[in-house]
Symmetry: C2
Subunit: 373 residues, 2 copies
């Protein structure tokens, strides 16, 4: 198949390698892997996990939960503060799968208790340092209130405490990531001690890609929920979560113009393909992607001397060394590793696997086929 427009390529072998390593690590640590499917959002990529006996997954919206439920997944955690406005969709889902919801505030628990028609697994989101959302781990007053409300309703089975250490994404040092992870595990274990009398089966769930990729010892918790590891990207390579060769997605973009004097190559590939996420460089410039060369069965590591340095809506600008500049002609396709694969996949709305298969992404599924109730 001849590609003519920006296309997201997916290297199935690399992707399966990434899945396999994470499955093995979870098994060695004796914990459940509940992969976050928000990175790929693809029924077909999701199905690859089934071969590794994965049967419980994480998503970040009710819409995503419906999509994967429609594709046969029966145990789904929506790892996002429950959106009570979607109660009708939540009830529909809870009637047919084992649905896990996440709460932060007492008000949410009260609204859910009043409006749920089927029981759900309820997790409390704990904040151990990321400061996006969640109850602070030492805020026992709010936790007591929440747990009391949870106990008052027969609609909830209290599942446990859940953390997302998003602040590991800002680190590039194993020791810093280890420290963040240890802190979270320690704080979660204190919570388990405090509340296990009341809830003997409560579980601890944690789940950022850097910790799960870099650290060997993931003991002390019950479940990990990494997502990005399925593809990885330049951000994860910089953090140390993966090598360049583990990055399983690559955007291929047509060359549409060349500027010899300043050695810039204009590609059809912009913010509507890559997103505006960038890697800050030492000199405070930004890089939006790195160029690879295509091989018979995939692509190389990034080549030196050429980088994606600017994006507008549909244009990208590559800055190149004389050798790299000379290599590319108008009408060539250039392969570019993305800075943030989750956002790139969401924008690209589908994949072509390196063996020629077309794979869907939820963002390319028409709204009308997955209308919310």
């Amino acid at each position: 198949m001849r590609l003519t427009t920006p296309t997201l390529l997916l290297d199935k072998k690399k992707c399966l390698g990434n899945i396999e390593r994470m499955v093995k690590k979870a098994r060695e640590n004796g914990i459940r892997l509940r992969p976050h499917f928000k990175t790929h959002q693809s029924a077909q990529v999701g199905a690859w996990f089934r071969d590794y006996n994965i049967d419980a997954i994480t998503v970040s919206s009710v819409r995503m939960a419906r999509y994967f439920a429609n594709h046969g997944w029966k145990d789904i955690l929506i790892a996002f503060p429950a959106n009570v406005l979607e109660i009708d969709s939540i009830n529909e889902l809870a009637s047919r799968i084992k649905l896990h919801l996440l709460v932060v505030n007492v008000e949410t628990v009260e609204i859910l208790a009043k409006n749920l028609r089927h029981p759900v697994q309820l997790w409390i989101k704990i904040d151990t340092g990321y400061r996006r959302t969640g109850v602070l781990a030492n805020n026992h007053k709010d936790l007591n209130k929440l747990l009391q409300k949870v106990q008052e309703s027969d609609k909830f089975q209290f599942a446990g405490f859940l953390v997302h250490d998003g602040h590991t994404y800002k680190q590039t040092d194993t020791y810093a990531i280890q420290t963040i992870h240890n802190t979270s595990v320690y704080l979660l274990q204190l919570l388990r001690e405090r509340y296990s009398g009341q809830f003997p089966n409560l579980q601890l769930s944690i789940g950022d890609t850097p910790s799960c990729s870099i650290l060997h010892d993931l003991s002390g918790i019950d479940e990990i929920r990494p997502g990005n590891f399925v593809f990885y990207d330049l951000t994860q390579q910089r953090i140390g979560s993966c090598t360049f060769d583990d990055i399983a997605v690559c955007v291929t973009c047509p060359v549409v113009a060349k500027h010899p004097r300043r050695r810039e190559i204009i590609i059809y590939g912009g913010a509507v393909h890559f997103s505006k996420d960038a890697l800050p460089q030492g000199d405070s410039s930004l890089v939006y992607g790195r160029v690879v060369e295509f091989t018979n069965d995939g692509w190389t590591s990034p080549v030196p001397g050429i980088e994606l340095v600017s994006l507008s809506q549909e244009h990208g600008i590559l800055k190149a060394s004389p050798e790299q500049f000379a290599k590319y002609n108008i009408g060539d396709m250039i392969g570019i590793l993305p800075v943030h694969s989750c956002l790139t996949a969401d924008l690209m709305k589908g994949y072509m696997s390196t063996d020629g298969e077309m794979l869907e992404h939820l963002s390319g599924v028409p709204q009308r086929e997955l209308v919310s109730l």
Copy 2:
């Protein structure tokens, strides 16, 4: 209709007001308005322009050209360096509409000359200072070469010289924008003088929203191609292109969590809804959107004391004053003006107009309904 998830609202009255002002300005200056449809990418919004006798439009991809051609537009300029890989789609379009292409390099002209099966209008992209792409206005050597190639083929009708002054987006001062515009008009007029003997009908086209919105005198050229003005956004308000009350789109987002101690409100609304474009503040912090209040027939100007300060994939964090924080409860909808309406609309994939009509966006049209040849 009860909204339950992030939804892009479109105020039709504001939008028509924006269209009307630009139509009037073009008429007063005696020039053609060829609006850029990449901002709305909507058949329905496009149709609103017809009532103002607009019959020629600008788009930024072959796919967008096909979409609007399928919706009855017959005179379409693809204001993006021609992607020769899409020659089959280009030929199909050229067979049924008056198609305008843009070129920067001789190689592109050669490939087009060899492969076009129907004549097209050909524009040369000129760079008058933005430095994204285009032939430098004083590079007569390259221009001569390009024009010679254009003349050698019967597939081309040379249309003229085209500029996009994207560097006006970095200005917040009318004088700076006036200077950029004057420079471009002057350089384009020098080109007209130089080449009008050879091409007596050559036209001059220019088209950034800041210049077209702020300046009164747009004489000396033949055509303007602004796009963003149809909706405007916080970026254009800061530049001075519009007032807050001209901004015609607003994302409404559910409140999913509240953090009283740090007065932060978590909304369902993240980078996959807004894009990561941000407005840098005086203290070097970033703002991703400003909050408005809903009224009977639309929304207010931004209210002080509450701002969208952080985005991850699906989460947004609003920082609020005590008064603003107290106003919002779990399950409320909050209206937020976007920083960059083009990218927000592309991500949201459709609109709900303030009179309840659902309007499509090309990014929500299934790929299979608009497959490239």
